[in-house]
C-alpha cells in the first residue's frame, strides 16, 4: 500500500451509483445491513431525473389491462430477443413497484376518483397488439425526476450513507470474487477502498459514445467498462436505442408522451408518414420502427429544414391547456433551445442516442454472470448498466423506469440476503494500486493529443457509422477510427495537475471507458449479421432467427481473438422463451 492517501471502509453492501436503480436497491437493503452508496454525482443529479414519460404497470386503473399483455408487448417490442422469464417478472412486479413508489410519496397524476392516472405509450397494447392501452403511470412529464426525488427522500428518511462525488474506477477481485470497489474522491483527489460482502453496480448508461444523445455528459459507462476490463462479459452491446424525438441537432429528448397525448410526426410536406410504416398504431409504434421511419424519410429527401435533415413533431392540434398540464417541461425545452412555440409550430426532431439495451449480464436475481450461466457470487447489477434481459433488441418506452425499480429492488434484496451469510472476501493488498497507477499515468502524460478532440472524433464516427443504419462498411470505418483513437489516447496530456476537483483528469479516464464500450458496440454490431430491433444492418435487412436468436456475449481477451481480429471475443447465449414463440413483428 504505497500511498498514504488511501482510506479504507468496510460495509456489508456497497452500491455503486445513486440513480433510480442504485437508490431503490439502497432502500431495500438499508434497513437490514450496513449499506453505503458510492456515486460520482450527488444522487438527485443522476440521469434518472431526466426521464419524462412514465413508468409502465398494468394497474388497469383507467382501462382493462393485464400483466400478460404487458409481458407480450415487452417481448414483441424487444423483437423476441427478450428473456421471457425476466419479462414476466418485470410485468408482474410492476404493479407493486408503482404502489411502492406511491406509498413512498411519489406524486403521480391522478384520475378523477383519486387513483394513479395512466396514459398511452409506444408499443403498449391491449390483448396482444389489438390497440394502444393506457399503461404508463406518470407525473406530468417529469416522472423520472419524481422517482429520483422520491427515492432520495426515502434514503434520507432511512439515513442511508452516501459518498457523493466519488468516482468508482475499479472493482477489486480476489480469486474470481468481488471484494471491494476503488473510488477516487473528486474533492480531495484521495483514493478510497470500499470493502463489501455484496457489491451492486447501478451506474447507468453510456450514451456519450454518441454525439447526438439524450444522455448526460456524465453517462460515460464507467461501471460497464470496469466490469468489462475485469474480463467479465457484456451482453447484447449491439442493441443501442435511438429515441425518435430528440430536438433536432441537440439530441435533447422530447418524450414519447408527446405522441402518447396525441402528437403526430410529419415530414416536410406535412404528411403523417407513420401511417405508411405502422398502419395500426402509427405514431405509437415502438421506437426502433419510428426512428427508422424518420431516418428513412430524411434519406429519401422528405426531411425539413435547410439541410432537409429532420422531421416534425406536431402538437399544434392539442389544447394548450393539455400541453401545459401534461407536457410542460418538454414544450419548454422546444422554446428554450430551438425558439419554437409548440402551441403553434411543429417542432423539428430527429432520432437521438438514448438507451443501452445491453450491458452487464445478470440473472433474474440481479446476480452478475461471468459466462452464459455462472454467477459471480456477491456481485450484482441493476438498471441501465445491466442486461437481464428484459428489453431484448429494443426497449419499450416506460419499461426502463420500471426495470430500475423492479430489478433495483431485487438487487438490494438479494445483495442483503447474500451479505447476511457470506464472509468478506479479503481485499488484496494492492487493491488501490491499479487505480493509482492509472491516475498517475494520465496525470503525468506529456503527449500532444487533447482528450476533448479524441472524444469528439469518437462520437462523430459513432454517429456517422453506428447509428440507426449500419453496414459492414460503416462499421469497419468506425472500427478503424477507434483503433486510431486508441493509439492517440496513449499520447494524451491533461492541463490540470492539481488534486482537488480535477475534472480534467476524470474526463480523460472517462474517455478510456468510452473507447472500450464503443469498440465493443462496433464489434458486436459487425458480428450480428441480421436486422433486429434497434440494430438495423442494411446489408442484412431481415431478422435471422435461425442464426441470431441469441444474445451476444463480448469478453475482453489478453490476445487477439481470431474471429473478431481484436482483443474482444464473442460468445452467444440462448434466449429464454416461455410462452411467446418468435413471430414477425407488425403493428
Amino acid at each position: 500500500m504505497a500511498n498514504d492517501n488511501v482510506t479504507y471502509h468496510s460495509y456489508d453492501v456497497v452500491i455503486v451509483g445513486a440513480g433510480g436503480a442504485g437508490m431503490r436497491a439502497a432502500i431495500e437493503a438499508g434497513p437490514h445491513a450496513k449499506v453505503a452508496v458510492v456515486s460520482k454525482l450527488f444522487p438527485t443529479r443522476s440521469h434518472t431525473g431526466a426521464a419524462q414519460g412514465g413508468m409502465a404497470a398494468a394497474l388497469a386503473n383507467v382501462e382493462e389491462d393485464s400483466w400478460e399483455w404487458h409481458t407480450f408487448d415487452t417481448v414483441k417490442g424487444g423483437d423476441y430477443l427478450v428473456d421471457q422469464d425476466a419479462a414476466e417478472i418485470l410485468a408482474k412486479e410492476s404493479v407493486q413497484a408503482v404502489i411502492d413508489l406511491e406509498n413512498m410519496g411519489l406524486p403521480f397524476n391522478r384520475t378523477p376518483d383519486g387513483k394513479i392516472d395512466q396514459r398511452r405509450f409506444g408499443g403498449h397494447t391491449r390483448d396482444h397488439g389489438k390497440a394502444p392501452v393506457r399503461r404508463s403511470c406518470y407525473a406530468a412529464d417529469r416522472t423520472g425526476h419524481m422517482i429520483l426525488q422520491t427515492l432520495y427522500q426515502n434514503c434520507v428518511k432511512l439515513g442511508i450513507e452516501f459518498y457523493n462525488e466519488f468516482y468508482v474506477l475499479d472493482l477489486a477481485m480476489n480469486d474470481g470474487k468481488p471484494s471491494a470497489v476503488v473510488a477516487y474522491e473528486l474533492a480531495t483527489g484521495d483514493i478510497h477502498v470500499f470493502a463489501a460482502k455484496s457489491i451492486v453496480f447501478a451506474t447507468g448508461g453510456f450514451g456519450k459514445i454518441y454525439k447526438t444523445t439524450s444522455n448526460a455528459h456524465t453517462l460515460t459507462g464507467d461501471g460497464v467498462g470496469i466490469i468489462f476490463r475485469k474480463g467479465l462479459p457484456l451482453e447484447d452491446m449491439e442493441f443501442y436505442q435511438f429515441h425518435p424525438t430528440g430536438l433536432a441537432g441537440l439530441g435533447i429528448l422530447l418524450s414519447e408522451a408527446a405522441r402518447g397525448e396525441g402528437g403526430i410526426l410529419r415530414n416536410a410536406s406535412g404528411e403523417r408518414f407513420m401511417e405508411r410504416y405502422a398502419p395500426t398504431i402509427k405514431d405509437l409504434a415502438p421506437r426502433d420502427m419510428v426512428a427508422r421511419a424518420m431516418a428513412n424519410e430524411v434519406r429519401e429527401g422528405r426531411g425539413g429544414g435547410p439541410n432537409k435533415d429532420y422531421v416534425f413533431l406536431d402538437l399544434t392540434h392539442l389544447e394548450p391547456a393539455v400541453i401545459d398540464a401534461k407536457l410542460p417541461d418538454i414544450t419548454e425545452f422546444a422554446r428554450t433551445y430551438l425558439g419554437v412555440e409548440p402551441y403553434t409550430e411543429p417542432v423539428p426532431v430527429f432520432p437521438t442516442a438514448h438507451y443501452a439495451m445491453g450491458g452487464i449480464p445478470t440473472n433474474i436475481k440481479a446476480e452478475v454472470l461471468s459466462d452464459n450461466d455462472t454467477v459471480v457470487p456477491g456481485l450484482y447489477a441493476a438498471g441501465e448498466c445491466a442486461c437481464v434481459s428484459v428489453h431484448g433488441a429494443n426497449r419499450l418506452g416506460t419499461n426502463s423506469l420500471l426495470d430500475i425499480n423492479v430489478f433495483g429492488k431485487r438487487a438490494g434484496r438479494y445483495a442483503v440476503e447474500y451479505a447476511k451469510t457470506a464472509k468478506q472476501v479479503p481485499v488484496p493488498e494492492n487493491a488501490a494500486d491499479e487505480v493509482l497507477a492509472m491516475l498517475e499515468k494520465v496525470r503525468k502524460a506529456k503527449g500532444k493529443e487533447k482528450v476533448a478532440q479524441l472524444r469528439k472524433e469518437l462520437q462523430e464516427t459513432m454517429d456517422k457509422n453506428a447509428q440507426v443504419f449500419r453496414t459492414e462498411e460503416t462499421l469497419n470505418e468506425a472500427f478503424d477510427k477507434i483503433q486510431e483513437l486508441r493509439k492517440r489516447y496513449e499520447n494524451i496530456s491533461i492541463q490540470d495537475q492539481g488534486k482537488r476537483f480535477n475534472t480534467d483528469l476524470l474526463e480523460a479516464i472517462e474517455l478510456g471507458f468510452l473507447l472500450d464500450l464503443a469498440e465493443v458496440t462496433v464489434i458486436t454490431c459487425r458480428e450480428r449479421r441480421e436486422s433486429r430491433g434497434a440494430h438495423l444492418r442494411e446489408d442484412f435487412p431481415t431478422r435471422d432467427d435461425q442464426k441470431f436468436m441469441v444474445h451476444s456475449m463480448a469478453y475482453k481477451t489478453e490476445n487477439t481473438d481470431k474471429a473478431t481480429g481484436t482483443n474482444i471475443k464473442l460468445g452467444w447465449k440462448p434466449v429464454v422463451i416461455t410462452n411467446y414463440q418468435p413471430m414477425e413483428r407488425k403493428y
Binding site: E28, G30, P31, V156, K157, G159
Partner: protein, 145 residues
Amino acid sequence: MVVIETPVQPRSRKAANWEKYGWLFMRVSGPLLVVLIFTHLIVNLVLGDGIKAIDFAFVAGKWADPFWQVWDMAMLWLAMIHGTNGMRTIVNDYTEKERVRVGLNYTLWIVCALLIVLGTLVIFTFDPCPAGAAAELLPSFCPAN
C-alpha cells in the same frame, strides 16, 4: 415494500421563539402606523402653515386634547417597538459574533424602553401653560394670555 417506521428525528427545538410574533407585530403595526403617521404628517406639515407653524404653542394646543394625546402615544409606542424590532432583524442579519449581536440587541431594547417611558411621561405630564413662561410662547387658551 420496506416499511419505514422511524423517520429521522426532527431537530430538537430550541427554547420557545418569538420570531412569529415579531413578524406578526410588524405586519399589524405597519398598517396602523400608516394611518397614524400619515395623518400626523398631514396635520403637522401640510395643513395650515405646515412646519412654519410648529412651535411650543402648536404642540401644547394639540395635547390639550386627549384625542391627540392618545394618538401620539399610540404612534410613539408602535413606532418605537416596530422600529426597534426592525433594527433587531437587521442586527441579527449582519452581526457575526454572538456577543456583539446580544450586546446590540440589549442596547436597542433599553433605548426603546427609555424613549417610550420618556415620551409617554412627556405626553401625559405635560402642562400646556407652564408657570413663568413668556406668554407669547404659550397657546392662546392659557390664563397667562
